[in-house]
Amino acid sequence: MASRSEIIVRFAGEGGQGVVTAAEMLARAATGVGYHALTFATFPSQILGGPTWTQARVSRTPVESPGDAIDILVAFNDVAYHEHRTEVHDGGIILLDPSVTPLSDEHLRCVTVPFDELAKQTGESRAANMVVMGGLSRLINMPVHYFKDFVSQRFAGRDKVVEANHIALDLGLAHLAEEDPISDLGEPEKPDYEQVFIKGNDALSVGALHAGIEFYFGYPISPATPILVYMERNLVGEGKFAYQASSEIEAITGIIGAGFAGKKSMTATSGPGFTLMGEGIGLAWMAEIPCVIVDVQRGGPATGLPTKTEQSDLNAALSPAHGDSSIPVIAAGSVDECFLATVHAFNWAERYQGPVILLSEHSLAERAQNIAKPDLAAIPVESRNVYKGENGYLRYESQEISPFPVPGGAGAYIANGSEHDIYGDTTHLAKYHIQMTERRFGKLKLLEGTYESDNASASVAVIPWGGSKGSAREAFQQLRSAGVDIAWYYTMFLNPLPTALLDELRSKDLVIVPELNYQGQFASVLRSQGVKAEAITQYTGLPFRPTELGERIKARLAGAGQPQAVNA
């Protein structure tokens, strides 16, 4: 039995069979004893039924993506078996429900487990998940007490449930007692720092609370809904407001009203809602109102793929509104960054007094992962410079940013979506349109983000953005291990891009941009900035697989110097 550093288990079945919770349970139990784990979930846009699958990647060292081929597939039905069996690597195992008949020429090891029947024996028919976990504890050689402890904790105080689930774990384990484990993960090395096991959307929500959010207004939409739910539950107390809007148009204008009234405000949506918010975002830019707009991307356009992942809203985020504007955009690339980027987004909004777009995506939103617990004391929070003078203040007189008057205090002015003069009054005069346009663009110089680099001396580079960061980072590490001379760059700050980063990228012969869209949107942005950028694209609704991505980068490098079609 080979020892290995990581293992990937995929659960596939129908919505409502507990598929979603299975991966999370495995990952949570594994992190509890000191492994690193990351989940991936994809499901149809319906509550019951429809093909659903999730997977957990469990490792002795930190992981950054859902990974490559599957070690163990748990197939709850026939469709799931046929759909996913080809993604199990040679030597892998398929756990099957007895209703599934494996192909006659199946070369993979198939093990049948009567999940439901065993669950019924426990007196708790919903314990089928635990039967699976019990079986897995044998196959991946993970002591069953890890799971038992997890169950005891999770259902503390509900003794009957705990007992039934413990029995289910034992039954699953006993059923597979004679099966050879696939591998030995070895003892975990428990990290010596504090950790949290958290999903991207929750990390984003807690980040907003740390940043000092006071006003949340949002409309339900996949995959951003969990942010609304979290805020409604937790953004409570004096001076706090979290509420469900009647539309995304109401949501954006509501948070602008609150921003005008002095509050740190945010809404979260996905593509369709983001499109509806366009005019409002332009208003926040024009009237200089701080606010944060989160777009948790899904497949588009129109209703698109509500429950799949894609990075195709970059163009929209960079240009959500008509007219001359340049809205700051920050994109989270990991669960940690869902937290951090949100704090940055609020800080930028407060600092330059305008709207900031925060991009996340389905794969991050639903990803549950163990991360180092953010050290809140070390993450600074900014607040706008509030006007404290007398009445008669000319809010827009300065060519630079100016203190922000708050209703209820002196300094009354007109916040205006029409072009305005130094009083905030509507005007058509050319001199004011010139002055105010330059004032609004000039404030962007206050926003200078950071970036990271690795092996920066190489003449070719890879720079992913957003949620492709993890897969690209693992692909990069594989390439470096194989001796490929390639540089790594990454930033969360997509607009304005860090100037020093642009300078470095411009010096490269080729900059490869892996991104999950058809057009190669970020590569196109970089080309417009004078970078020789080419995209490697994927538009399957799923994230990149690191090894496959590494191969594609290698193939592109082999062809470097040759004419190559650039993604339109």
Binding site: D202, L209, E214, I256, F260, G280, D425
Partner: protein, 290 residues
């Protein structure tokens, strides 16, 4: 008459005789009285305006100015919601026209009525899109020829008062721009009402839809005025009596309906705050501890 006391360069003009002059005067009266009674400064008031001729009422003509927000077309209500729910202590007034409020912004009335959002909306109804030069609006009379209805308006005319009552707006008043003192009383009572108040004002457009003559009527010619005073014995707490007033047609003047029994959104939220307390980001982060 250009400029304001504060900004000599301000050059927005309403047409001579525009009803909106009277509404602005009424709003000034109402806000000043409101401030004096409460001994509060003008900057505790916020005027959120729609887009269109009436949107330029974001200013008062004279004296200390309230905060103003001249936003985007049709969205005055959600902007006002943001201001009010961010700062419940502020007096928030919406000013908008029939095109802004009842056409593009119609979708925002029902949710604020359901929430009983504690603001006062003053609607200037001239039955036409004035600033875009005379297209038909929801309240334009059926069969009327306008620039966008060259063969007559094919849609029935909306009765806004009927709509407000149906949606559950808890204070509904109807007024006329030529009577600023009376109108100020209706607006101030709307500000005082804890809940969603709408003061619907007939504010004629002298350029595209001059209804002054119709509103006043002409005794000599035997034409009854469109505007009529609601009798003192009208029971404004009764929904059926309110419906009776509305069904009489014309432009009733006075308070049509007032329901003080429903708590406003901020009052309901206050009750929630008494039983639920928020937790710090640190505490919340710890709920995810491994």
């Amino acid at each position: 008459m250009t400029g304001t006391a504060k900004n000599p360069e301000y050059d927005f003009l309403w047409c001579p005789g525009c009803g909106d002059f009277g509404v602005r005067r009424a709003l000034e009266f109402a806000m000043r009285d409101w401030n004096i009674e409460r001994e509060i400064p003008m900057h505790d008031n916020v005027v959120v305006a729609g887009i269109g001729c009436s949107g330029n009422l974001v200013h008062l003509y004279e004296g200390e100015q309230p905060y103003g927000f001249h936003g985007i077309h049709g969205r005055s209500l959600p902007l006002a919601l943001g201001v009010k729910m961010a700062r419940e202590d502020l007096n928030v007034v919406v000013v908008a026209g029939d095109g802004d409020f009842l056409s593009i912004g119609m979708e925002h009335i029902a949710p604020q009525a359901s929430r009983n959002l504690n603001i006062c909306a003053v609607i200037m109804d001239n039955g036409v899109y004035g600033l875009t030069k005379g297209q038909s609006s929801p309240t334009t009379v059926e069969d009327t020829v306008t620039s966008s209805t060259p063969y007559g308006k094919l849609e029935s005319s909306l009765n806004p008062l009927d709509l407000y009552l149906t949606l559950g707006v808890t204070y509904i008043a109807s007024g006329y721009s030529t009577k600023p003192r009376d109108l100020a009383g209706l607006i101030k009572r709307g500000m005082e009402h804890d809940g969603f108040s709408i003061v619907h004002v007939n504010s004629p457009c002298t350029t595209y839809n001059d209804t002054y003559a119709l509103l006043k009527g002409n005794k000599a010619k035997g034409i009854d005025p469109l505007a009529w005073e609601i009798p003192d014995d009208h029971d404004s707490t009764s929904k059926s009596a309110a419906r009776g007033v509305i069904e009489q047609g014309g432009v009733p003047l006075g308070v049509i309906y007032q329901d003080d029994s429903r708590p406003s959104l901020d009052q309901r939220l206050g009750a929630v705050r008494e039983r639920v307390t928020g937790r710090s980001a640190e505490d919340l982060l710890n709920t995810f501890a491994v």
